[in-house]
């Protein structure tokens, strides 16, 4: 009897160890698959001056800071970096405001054309986002914010407008959040004589830190990752390029042989700060998405 129980316990233990070992093995293999490409990027960025494009090897022959120095001395990289940072920061404020405002209205107010506006927003969202790219380009060039006549500042201004202008349409996730904030708070404040504007600024906004951080994070990251609009609008004016356009051009057929490792260095320099930022705010990201998903 006693031995039987012992045997059973031992077999349970063995089973657990096996399943644990399998889990760890799978996780390790997958992690390696996910990390290796990124590691390879970092390694390539430190390649020696001879470069490593199409040399038939897996790792560079020697290591140096050569390509980082090249990046800052021979290309407009720092300029692209500042451009993107400027655009991202302005968008952070504008887009967040538009999105939060729209979401708050859709969640808290009941007015005649509310449902209609919601359906229109949904319909607009179903057109490919950059279908209107050509139209926007022509609209901007008719006021000299794009095309041959545009100045560098004008181009950057145009990009800011493009990124933040339509932010109101992405209200859905934030609306889901506002829906969960109890309406009795509003009612209590209204009894105390607060106006809707006061309720929004003094009661709802302070309670909405998670969703504001989420929206701000998304608005800030957007310009760093966008390639489509920036490439199309900015054209050949190198001084106005964003990091994405600049780096993409390093890999064009004409440049790739000379600038391959420079691309890696440039990629590392944007990947590191953004990754850190993202990891710090990861909690808000998950909350934002799942919060919205729970609401449907």
């Amino acid at each position: 009897m006693n031995t039987e129980v012992k045997n059973k316990k031992a077999s349970m233990k063995r089973r657990k160890t096996i399943s644990k070992a399998t889990a760890y093995t799978i996780l390790s293999i997958l992690s390696v698959l996910w990390i290796l490409p990124l590691l390879w990027m970092v390694i390539q960025s430190f390649a020696g001056p001879e470069g490593s494009y199409q040399n038939g090897k897996i790792f560079p022959d020697s290591f140096s800071f050569h390509w980082y120095i090249q990046l800052f001395t021979t290309s407009n990289y720092w300029r692209w970096y500042l451009n993107t940072l400027l655009i991202a920061v302005v968008c952070l404020f504008l887009s967040t405001f538009f999105t939060i405002a729209m979401a708050y209205v859709m969640s808290r107010f009941r007015f005649k054309s509310r449902k209609k506006l919601q359906s229109i927003a949904m319909i607009l969202g179903m057109f490919p986002g950059f279908m209107s790219m050509a139209a926007i380009y022509h609209i901007f060039s008719s006021v000299n914010l794009a095309g041959g006549q545009a100045t560098t500042a004008g181009l950057i201004f145009a990009l800011i407008l493009v990124y933040s202008g339509s932010a109101g349409l992405n209200y859905y996730v934030s609306k889901g959040f506002f829906d969960t904030v109890s309406k009795s708070l509003d009612e209590a404040a209204r009894i105390d004589g607060a106006t809707n504007a006061q309720i929004f600024v003094k009661i709802i906004l302070p309670l909405s830190k998670p969703i504001i951080v989420y929206t701000a994070l998304m608005s800030f990251l957007g310009p760093w990752g966008d390639f489509i609009f920036s490439n199309y609008l900015l054209g050949t004016n190198e001084k106005a390029w964003t990091v994405a356009v600049g780096l993409y051009n390093m890999l064009s057929n004409a440049n790739i042989a000379a600038q391959y490792n420079m691309f890696m260095a440039g990629a590392v320099l944007i990947a590191v700060p953004i990754t850190i930022l993202f990891l710090c705010l990861q909690r808000y990201f998950v909350e934002g998405i799942t919060g919205g998903a729970v609401k449907g």
Binding site: K16, I18, A23, Y24, I26, L27, S31, W34, P37, L38, W40, M41, Q54, G56, F59, F98, A101, M102, V105, M122, M126, F127, P128, F130, M131, S132, A135, I136, H138, I139, S142, G165, S166, A167, G168, L169, D179, T180, T195, N196, A197, L221, G225, F227, A244, L247, Y248, L251, Y260, F263, A271, I274, T275, F278, F285, I289, T290, A293, V294, G296
Partner: protein
Amino acid sequence: MKEFFTKLISQAKEFFGKLLTKMKAFFIKLKDKTVLFFKNLPQNLKKLGISIVTRIRDWFLRYYNYFKNGDIGVKLSYIFMGSGAFAHKQIVKGIAYLGIELLFIFYMIFNGAGAIRGFFTLGTDFPYSITDVNTGNRIPIDGDNSMLFLLYGVVAIMVIAAFIVVYFMNIRSAYETYEDSVVGKQPQTFRQDLKQLFDKKFYIVLLSLALIGVIVFTVLPLIFMILIAFTSFDRQHSATTGFDWVGFKNFGQLVGTTGLASTFFPVLGWTLVWALCATFLNYFLGVALALLINKKDIKGQKVWRTFFVLTIAIPQFVSLLLMRNLLGEYGPIMNLIVNAGGERVNVFGDTNLARLVVILVNLWVGIPYSMLITSGILMNIPADLYESARIDGAGKLTMFRKITLPYILFVTGPYLITQFIGNINNFNVIYLLTGGGPFGVYSEAAGGTSLLVTWLYSVTNDLQNYKLASCLGILTFVVCSVVSLITYRHSSASKNEEDFQ
């Protein structure tokens, strides 16, 4: 040991068998819904038509009654906007309305009327150049620009539409003030109106701020682009050589038996296959990974999760361009294969291979997303659910099947639909990896891995064939809206909006 594995295998078999039947049922249901959707379409359209007609009739009746029943202020406001406000001493409001009317009239005389005419002709005299007889130089002569004519035409139509809205607002407000005065209520002063804008009508302030951008940067360009689908705007018929209205000819080219159908339908098919694979593979594998990481006895869950989250944090164009080089013909992976005695191949040079590779790379990009989301949900499952299940004597496996899995599926259902739509429009992964290639299989800059949207981009960017790009955009929209109509219509999430509050 052996017995443990056979048990494990049988359990797995049972689980996947059930999963398979469930998925099968899902697709059958989807098919039924699709059939039903198209069967009911004419009936629903008819209903829609009738409701539109009755609405228009009611609307006419209402404004007829306003005119019949109103006082002189109301009656005058049909011609001079703001008269109703002036009649009740709302001076600022009256001036605002009258000012809008005057501005509109000026606009129409000096710009709008011409713009509307231009909208229909799209220009008649285009720029050309003549040779100076004395110097032999070419002298450019200015002329019309079809694109600007179309653009200004659209703007004029939007201005007129906005004016019509304000015009009827003016009549309604005049009538309401009149009605108030009949029952002896004081008309609102301008200050009261302003105050209301920050209280009862605060939504107007917030909305107009948020919507100006949407109208200028989304609605206006979109209307403009949609209209281009009905013109001959392309490289041969450019803005300065003139393009014209052609009706539905471009769509006929795309889906008809001649022309581009042999490119369009394969691209559409691959787009749908891609969206299905990208959505469901990413989702199920992501859920599996999340379950693995969140197993109770796994240590360092945060660290494991971070490994995968890195690919989300890094901007997509970086990670995708990186992957392109890593997998490229002379990339390190090919080098490894060659060193091991394999043959050097260009994985992006063969359509089927390239399709497989983009789906695999998309797993690398997408699994972390669904892993992260599922992890968030797993932590949110109410603990008392498990507690009561344990009291009822449920085993771990039962709890997983009866609580964890249904909960995840329930919460992420709507997310799957948005993901599907997102993948139909997934530009980055395809364009940055393959650029739509390999080329040569199809015509008009479409390649083996081109989705409708990347094709749209190439057509705009490389060929300046705006009319085709516009048609593709509209057709992508049609695909997306049919998919979401079929799936949304019966989902409860859209109906029970108020339940959560």
